[in-house]
Symmetry: C2
Subunit: 111 residues, 2 copies
């Protein structure tokens, strides 16, 4: 997908959608960690929390990759994970939105 062109307006829309998804996932993670922390009563709980945080950090590092060469895959992944609504990509060229939708459908079929 390296050949796709992104207009200035599309880049703004893409960036805003990306940031919005990250903001949502971050807020959900903050809430999760606060709840998990209150359940901590012993050392093993702490090490389980550490493991959870490590997994989440790796997951977010993998997921939030803002390179135009992979951005359609990133958006498909964010839609599948529930952090992005396809409507929030309104304004991107139709071929881009169609490709994202196709990626979403393809992955859903494989689940």
């Amino acid at each position: 997908m390296h050949e796709l062109l992104w207009s200035k307006r599309e880049k703004q829309i893409a960036r805003a959608a990306f940031e919005k998804a990250l903001e949502r996932e971050a807020a959900a993670l903050v809430a999760l960690v606060r709840v998990k922390a209150l359940e901590i009563t012993e050392l093993d709980d702490i090490w389980r929390l550490e493991e959870l945080l490590r997994e989440k950090r790796r997951e977010l590092e993998r997921r939030y990759d803002y390179r135009y060469s992979v951005l359609l895959y990133v958006f498909a992944d964010l839609i599948l994970a529930g952090w992005l609504n396809p409507d929030e990509l309104a304004g991107l060229a139709d071929d881009k939105r169609a490709r994202i939708e196709a990626l979403v459908e393809l992955t859903r079929e494989r689940m």
Copy 2:
């Protein structure tokens, strides 16, 4: 210190002191993590907590080494860190307690 002999009674005292120190440090860490978790409001706070937990885990793994060959050093370290009171080693042979005390003093001088 490999040559030191530990009587059955001394082993019981040593084990109890070791477990008591670990119990105290664990309780303090649980309290710390619960407080830190409540202060979390954004992703960076979460990654700082992850880093703190990783450091603490490594610190505890290094500190709580129950091998008789290193146990006097371990007790000196626990006394210096405030997790063990020298009185809780009452019942160990005088030479062991004297060595622990010497290790504590030696380290304090270097601090």
